[in-house]
Symmetry: C2
Subunit: 351 residues, 2 copies
Amino acid sequence: MNKRIAVLPGDGIGPEVTAVAVQVLKKIGEVFDHQFTFEEGLVGAIAIDETGNPFPDETLQLCQSADAILFGAIGHPKYDNDPTAPVRPEQGLLAMRKALGLYANIRPVNTFKALADASPLKREIVEGVDFVVFRELTGGSYFGKKGRSDDRLSAYDTCTYTHDEIYRITKLAFEAAAKRRKKVTLVDKANVMETSRLWREVVQKYAAEHPEIELELMFVDNAAMALIQNPRRFDVILTENMFGDILTDEASVITGSLGMLPSASVGNQVALYEPIHGSYPQAAGQNIANPMAAVLSAATLLETSFNLMAEGKIIRHAVEEALNFGYVTKDINPDKFMSTTEVGQKICDFI
Amino acid sequence: MNKRIAVLPGDGIGPEVTAVAVQVLKKIGEVFDHQFTFEEGLVGAIAIDETGNPFPDETLQLCQSADAILFGAIGHPKYDNDPTAPVRPEQGLLAMRKALGLYANIRPVNTFKALADASPLKREIVEGVDFVVFRELTGGSYFGKKGRSDDRLSAYDTCTYTHDEIYRITKLAFEAAAKRRKKVTLVDKANVMETSRLWREVVQKYAAEHPEIELELMFVDNAAMALIQNPRRFDVILTENMFGDILTDEASVITGSLGMLPSASVGNQVALYEPIHGSYPQAAGQNIANPMAAVLSAATLLETSFNLMAEGKIIRHAVEEALNFGYVTKDINPDKFMSTTEVGQKICDFI
Ligand SMILES: CC(C)[C@H](C(=O)O)[C@@H](O)C(=O)O
Ligand SMILES: CC(C)[C@H](C(=O)O)[C@@H](O)C(=O)O
């Protein structure tokens, strides 16, 4: 197989973990005789520093001509406390999502046996947790009209959704549920938001045509509780952009495996894969970041964009072996740990 | 002291827990020789059933002429799966908040020694948790313009905030922090929302004039994680309406004491006190609901609206005694429990 992969390392620990993911993909290429070519692009704070634009045109073109995108993380403390700065790293992220039409962010959340005690939650609550969140990624308050009054003393944001925006991600979520435990939980605030009421209409209509999938309706405040009280009850969670932002981050810490969770952002064309953890600037350049979420993102890339299921499985297996042998970074075992590159090498050795 | 208290029992378990709170207030009246008069009003599903309006004018007038309001809960399953029904119980709640100008919802979250193992989180994470959330309650997406396109295939909600709406609750939150551990965490999404950027401006300006209080800025997705990973880090959390809805519910389950948490909603005139748990219709009429959150709401009422600090303290002490003796409802100890009314009687006996 012959494939072009765009690599966007981004900021903070992004470059370090992405380098490991690329190393793993190269190893897979050798073993299975695939021709993967890798081309790097700029995004985030580093892109602002070098070009003045957090998502330069060359990066867009690189992404559009690639078969898949491997992404690290963005964000730098020098922009953190100034959300009013005219150019900010996260604008690059949002521009990228919009320009590439990445309308669905897919985040599986599951526990790892070797990390059973890493969760802040009790073992009996998180054991066996296995769900996936479908977060809408190109609509809602993120992209609606926003602004200030002339005196700048009042502000507004508009959350908008159309039938078609809701329908296309609903379809993806139901298709995923059909291959899983056949349950979709729609999370919204239909007792307050008109957009949520539209979500309910579209999703309930779709569900009526797909009776093999159970549809559950849940308000977002209730979902924020249920994720902690009984996360095993969830199979597929479907929700809009902002609620998804909050709930996926909440979900990522309940299993104690934040450094282990990959994600995929898909649309009509090329898809993007990234670890769900952020740029974690405090750890940057120290060779201590956990590369496993990036490596599992690479596995998801092979499975989802290239349909290379066996190759994906071998990577997942290699990560599990590394975990079982205790070849882990500091975040997983502060008493006995390896560096980012050492863990990467071990994973490659297991392939 | 001579005071009129409006009592709005509402739906589900609301009437049962409110009855206990009233019984406790009457006992306090006897012991301390205060004249409390109680007048009941309709709100929620029961108000729809009896008058067609979830917040009838008589209830509004009753509230406006009272010295304080004791509220139960609203919501009934017959409306739950139909957020598009023309009249819904929660409209009564929103109308009440707006009409009475209850702009700040204040929810303390703390652990109870007797419940140390009731939390879904590990003991070492929740021990000693003690923070309070100031949620803005009459602005944001809850009350902004919302609607549909003519073909009903697209929908929008508007989130709006003004300088003054932000300023008045900021003042309350900073005043509370001054009496506590002197730290305010502003939770927003300033990397995406214009309203959040206005919140930051107003709050940062206020903080600059009050250097004795430390101001921390946190994005809402990050806050959803931090509440689980390290809830002890919070002292006062300040946030807008929708984020507050989600985070207060998340916060209420981390300590395992959902049935124990009171709240106050304050404005320029009369204030309202209610348990944070909902109407819990499954338990209604069974005499099994935990009345402690309602009783602690009554204590907060005495302290906050009537400045009766000793009386409030005695109620809090009586609740703790009941907990220590194991005089609790089923939610707290499924193996050995009492009924709602029995627990209420025990609390009165301790006064
Ligand atoms: C950086 C920020 C704009 C972004 C978002 O809110 O979507 C991030 O939190 C994420 O979830 O990818
Ligand atoms: C019933 C609902 C409209 C309400 C809200 O979202 O404010 C409730 O969840 C609350 O927190 O009091």
